[in-house]
């Protein structure tokens, strides 16, 4: 063989981590039937797995997060990750290590701002400034499904996002896990449920949308792993090279932004198809589906989709020469900072 190829296999350590997290999820996080808004015990166990530890590389973190979120988010996974990055004092890291609930406020206009798991939080960090803005739970948001989000009133607008790449990549990994979980529930339901004397799953009208979800879910998972690997390579190489140069080489922000946009597409399609397959039962808490689809909605509707689009649009390269345009997606972007 002349040319070595791409490698899709995970490092042994990542495979081991994936297996360990999968066992924990299957043992401790109910796949269905839970009506509890939040379990501090399960959150503490999740934190102690170490996926939010800043020293963990992105590939291991993402592999773990995908598994950890198959049965739903057990707490402010994305918000805690970004809060740790934002807080320069190390307070958030210490509080989290002590088993407390650390969440954070995303960049937003002035006024009432939604904060994930804010109503059960022990510590709230402002992402743009890194300031600790609350040491007690925030007022609860009223919602049809028990999600313990809270309200924070921002005085002045704060729209700059210092952690866009981390937000896109971590968010995409979580959605990959939630979407995998939703699809698994829907597949199981269509195998169990019989109508017209046969399994729902035997109808093509049921199979096709689920197969389309499988394509999107698998594709998103690959995009997450690819972006995580590039982020790790970028981090390693930036020791000796400036960020602009390295972004051009690894394209970690481009691939993270693309993964995020794919995650939004996947979340929308999976939510639609899985609820359709489940029927009315899908909207009942006992089925476990809404916990996953609402989790996806929380991420896709509150995270920075416009920022990802703007970043990618700003980095598209345009060439006029007939043969110049490349045929690979990453060739369409320069990867430089604006």
């Amino acid at each position: 063989m002349k040319g070595e190829g791409m490698r899709f296999d995970l490092p042994d350590t990542a495979e081991q981590l994936r297996s360990e997290v999968a066992r924990w999820v299957d043992r401790r996080v109910p796949a269905r039937g839970s009506t509890a808004a939040f379990s501090p015990d399960i959150w503490r166990e999740f934190v102690h797995i170490g996926l939010l530890d800043p020293s963990v590389d992105e590939l291991h973190r993402c592999v773990g997060l995908v598994e950890a979120c198959r049965h739903g988010m057990c707490g402010p996974v994305l918000e805690a990750r970004l809060g740790l990055l934002a807080d320069p004092s190390g307070t958030a890291e210490r509080e989290l290590a002590d088993g407390r609930v650390v969440t954070s406020v995303a960049p937003s206009p002035a006024g009432a701002t939604l904060v994930g798991w804010g109503s059960v939080a022990d510590l709230v960090v402002d992402q743009p400034s890194g300031a600790i803005v609350s040491r007690e739970p925030l007022p609860a948001v009223r919602m049809a499904q028990p999600m313990p989000h809270g309200w924070y009133r921002r005085g002045a607008a704060a729209t700059a996002d210092p952690f866009d790449r981390e937000r896109w990549l971590t968010g995409a990994a979580i959605i990959a896990g939630l979407a995998q979980g939703a699809l698994a529930l829907a597949v199981q339901h269509t195998a169990d449920r019989r109508q017209f004397g046969r399994q729902l799953a035997s109808f093509q009208a049921v199979q096709f949308p689920l197969a389309e979800c499988k394509i999107l879910v698998d594709g998103l998972y690959l995009m997450v792993l690819d972006a995580a690997d590039r982020a790790d390579r970028g981090t390693q190489d930036r020791v000796t090279q400036d960020r602009v140069t390295q972004d051009r080489v690894t394209q970690d922000r481009v691939t993270s932004a693309l993964a995020w946009l794919a995650a939004v597409r996947c979340a929308e399609a999976t939510t639609r198809a899985c609820h359709q397959a489940f029927g009315a039962l899908g909207f009942c808490l006992e089925a476990g589906l809404v916990q996953l689809t609402w989790g996806m909605a929380w991420l896709r509707l509150t995270s920075a989709t416009p920022a990802a689009r703007s970043y990618l649009a700003a980095h598209r390269q345009r060439q006029d020469h007939r043969s110049a345009p490349g045929c690979l997606v990453l060739e369409a972007f320069d990867g430089n900072d604006p």
Partner: protein
């Protein structure tokens, strides 16, 4: 986990681009534009064969250079992105060759594989029939055993691409009419100038001599035409189809066409950037799903359901991109190569009007791909 091509593969890609830049005319938009396009394809194929690129990834014993699946991926991407200048030769390289290596006798391999490697043989696939499309196993074309051990073929094939230029045909026919649907089929490797074969173009909007019907009337072929085991042709055909799916780097052409469309639309494209980047995210997904299918093939030697997932993703990406092009370029997207006002010398027309609308009915319909993904990828039961 490392999803980049190697530096050597980047070099190969660069070489290919330079080669295509030099050897394809500005008006080249694919082989289905007329006799001149076919002649241009023949020249490029000959030059590629001289460089050893035509079957670069085949084993050396069959005229290849021993390149890897990943080298082949680079070649497929660059050629497909430039409207597949190999024409029908891509079939010989991508799926006929591997199937002949898997099922062919020593004599068949010695005869056909070097011909393909030299670019001297043109093949067409004779599967679909008027009453057997997605339901391929219901085909009726009969190959009856003759007294001399050969076969006498009678029946009709349809939607056959490249039949006008083909020297050989890969024919799926019924050799045992008593057997149940998927049994009693055989693959025959026939010469297309055999008496009794009648080829007729079916005029269409998707290209000059793109579609044909092929009638067989008492066509006599020798026993040596049989590929694989008699009455077990379904296994051969099912081995061939996944190779066809995994060999089509359609996503590469789509990505290049989005860039071409961007250049054509110029300043107007600024407003479209939001949707374009969403579509490019889908394109990156299609790329990685295709690479996964290649990795599965590399590690197992087989083409699995992952090829169907990749092909379906290609289809979604291609049709979403074509819709974007229509939106940005308007009806000018329908102006074809040869018209002096055609955008990008007709490249956009070839892609958005001739190719993209048909992606969901090629190499098995989109629904067939979804059935394969659902049943083999998700474990859903066979639909009834």
């Amino acid at each position: 986990m490392h999803l980049d091509f190697s530096p050597q593969q980047h070099d190969l890609r660069r070489e290919l681009r330079e080669f295509l830049d030099v050897n394809l005319s500005a008006s080249w938009v694919g082989v289905w534009q007329g006799p001149e396009a076919q002649a241009q394809s023949d020249r490029v194929v000959s030059l590629m064969a001289d460089r050893g690129w035509l079957t670069y990834c085949w084993p050396e014993e069959y005229g290849g250079s021993g390149g890897s699946i990943w080298d082949q991926q680079v070649i497929q991407e660059e050629l497909f992105a430039h409207h597949e200048p190999r024409g029908s030769q891509y079939m010989g390289v991508n799926w006929l060759g591997p199937v002949l290596m898997q099922f062919g006798s020593e004599e068949q391999r010695a005869r056909f594989l070097p011909e393909i490697s030299r670019g001297a043989a043109y093949w067409c696939q004779l599967f679909s029939e008027p009453e057997a499309g997605s339901d391929l196993a219901s085909l009726r074309t009969a190959a009856t055993r003759a007294a001399d051990g050969g076969f006498v073929i009678n029946g009709d094939k349809v939607w056959t691409s490249y039949a006008n230029s083909a020297t050989h045909g890969f024919l799926l026919a019924r050799t045992d009419p008593q057997a149940e649907k998927h049994r009693g089929l055989s693959v025959l490797l026939i010469e297309m100038d055999t008496p009794g074969i009648e080829i007729r173009e079916i005029p269409s909007t998707i290209g000059w001599h793109r579609l044909h019907s092929v009638r067989f009337t008492d066509v006599r072929v020798p026993a040596s035409c049989l590929l694989g085991t008699l009455h077990h042709g379904w296994d051969v055909a099912m081995a061939a189809l996944p190779y066809e799916r995994v060999g089509n780097a359609r996503y590469a052409r789509t990505t290049r066409m989005l860039a071409v469309a961007d250049a054509v639309a110029g300043d107007q494209a600024g407003a479209a950037d939001d949707r374009v980047v969403d579509t490019l995210a889908l394109g990156r997904m299609a790329e990685l799903l295709n690479y996964r299918a290649a990795a599965v093939r590399e590690s197992t030697g087989l083409v699995g359901w992952e090829a169907s997932a990749a092909f379906a993703a290609n289809a979604l990406y291609e049709q979403e991109s074509a819709a974007l092009i229509e939106r940005d370029v308007g009806f000018m997207a329908y102006v074809a190569s040869g018209d002096p006002n055609a955008p990008a010398d007709g490249e956009l027309e070839s892609f958005a009007v001739r190719q993209a609308p048909t992606v969901t009915i090629q190499a098995g319909s989109y629904q067939v791909q979804l059935s394969i993904v659902g049943q083999r990828g998700l474990g859903l039961p066979r639909a009834t």
